[in-house]
């Protein structure tokens, strides 16, 4: 599910011209979170990004980091600072890694807008709020990715109808 959401967010930004991935054309970037299940490839091709989990294929650059650093990146923390503090490992082209980090940072800003394309504004707003909550849970938790995964699962398994949506139909 994380792959799907991430892929949708990034491609939405590309389509709307918010980000330009031409510099990343034909690059495969492996992104992995240490001590967690998340290891993905960002395949940048044909002016779009595919997020895949098949990590047997060669990549141009590999980025390894801890989950809490992952969220720091989403909040726009400087990559150079994180590198200096040994919080992130990069094997390969650092410039390519920086470009990807820039994309991820922008994806966070427009999360709510992105979701509204698929779910409608009201539901997107609710999910956007939930996402912020998940991030807080993840930040406070000793196992942030698991907490995030559980939160997302709860939302999908037992979605609640927004009160505003209910009122709108009356």
């Amino acid at each position: 599910m994380q792959h799907f959401v991430l892929e949708q967010a990034l491609n939405f930004l590309i389509q709307n011209g918010s980000v330009d991935i031409k510099p990343l054309e034909s690059k495969v970037i492996r992104f992995s979170l240490i001590d967690s299940f998340l290891e993905v490839n960002f395949v940048c091709t044909n002016n779009r990004i595919f997020v895949t989990s098949d990590t047997n294929t060669p990549s141009d650059v590999a980025i390894k980091l801890k989950p809490n650093v992952f969220f720091a990146l989403f909040k726009g923390e400087d990559l150079t600072d994180l590198l200096r503090q040994d919080k992130i490992q990069i094997h390969g082209d650092v410039k390519t890694a920086q470009l990807l980090v820039d994309l991820l940072t922008e994806a966070d800003i427009d999360l709510e807008e992105m979701l509204s394309q698929y779910t409608g504004d009201i539901v997107a707003h609710e999910i956007g709020k939930k996402a912020e909550k998940f991030k807080k849970i993840a930040k406070d938790s000793s196992n942030p990715i698991e907490a995030l995964k559980n939160g997302l699962s709860n939302l999908l398994i037992s979605p609640k109808v927004s009160k505003r949506y209910a009122n709108k139909n009356q």
Binding site: F4, E7, Q8, N11, V43, N46, R48, I49
Partner: protein
């Protein structure tokens, strides 16, 4: 535009003399006409039967397929075995006026139903081509996305069809295969087997007056490669990446291949 192109090139390799048609072993040359017979028979009730048999779930599976496609404005999309055009309608919305969507099917009756369906829904600007997935009549590197939903299992030589799809996709193009697959859940498997072989053909008899075709449907699903096998086939066809996502516990899987 309606174009009829069934075979434009010769097979790249010799096929075996026999193949499966459901649980039956038939001459390879006969399978295409047997499948055609099935779809000629069910074409007019196809949408209704999909809703009845899947309890409407096929609409969710297709919606997920569309969302996974990453198709955008200006893209060229080919929908193979597109039947009544569910995917083509959504692709048309995504590609806009500057894009192109081709709805194709080997079966003229199904393609006719698709065309009628799209016109009834006010969807214009879609091209219609009657074709065989094993011999795709397009230039190399033409499409940004190719989809085939619930069609691959009816193709006689799947490897050749996948190679053809790989050939006509642009680098970075995406292949989406939505197809019945294999569930790991023992409970679901038992329920699904009972439903497929006891309920589904009966419903086919009652609603579409064609029990036999729906018996074939159940059998053809069991003969279709499982998730991992199909993934290997996609990679073998030359795709750089292939992943699959199980839907409804693996009853259906969406394979996504990327040409690199």
């Amino acid at each position: 535009m309606l174009v009829m192109i069934l075979e434009t090139t010769q097979p790249s390799k010799l096929m075996k003399n026999t193949t499966h048609f459901g649980f039956k072993e038939v001459a390879t040359d006969d399978k295409q006409s047997l499948v055609r017979g099935v779809f000629d028979s069910v074409a007019s009730k196809y949408d209704l039967m999909n809703d009845v048999l899947s309890f409407g779930a096929h609409r969710l599976w297709k919606r997920y397929t569309i969302a996974s496609s990453n198709v955008k404005t200006g893209d060229k999309v080919l929908d193979i075995a597109g039947g009544t055009g569910d995917l083509a309608i959504e692709f048309r919305k995504k590609v806009g006026e500057s894009g192109q969507v081709i709805l194709s099917d080997i079966n003229a009756a199904m393609l006719g139903e698709g065309r009628k369906n799209l016109i009834n829904k006010g969807v214009f600007g879609v091209d219609y081509v009657q074709l065989n997935a094993q011999y795709l009549p397009f230039e190399d590197n033409t499409f940004d996305c190719i989809s085939i939903a619930f069609g691959l299992r009816n193709v006689t030589d799947k490897d050749q069809a996948l190679s053809e799809m790989q050939r006509i996709l642009k680098p970075g193009g995406c292949l989406l295969i939505l197809e019945f697959s294999t569930t790991d859940s023992e409970f679901l498997k038992k329920f699904y087997d009972f439903y497929s072989f006891n309920i589904m053909p009966k419903l086919g008899g009652i609603v579409a007056d064609d029990e036999e075709s729906y018996q074939y449907l159940a059998e053809s699903i069991r003969k279709h490669p499982d998730q991992e096998t199909l993934k290997d086939m996609v990679l073998e066809a030359g795709f750089g990446f292939c992943e699959y996502h199980n839907l409804s516990g693996g009853i259906v899987a969406l394979h996504k291949g990327i040409k690199t």
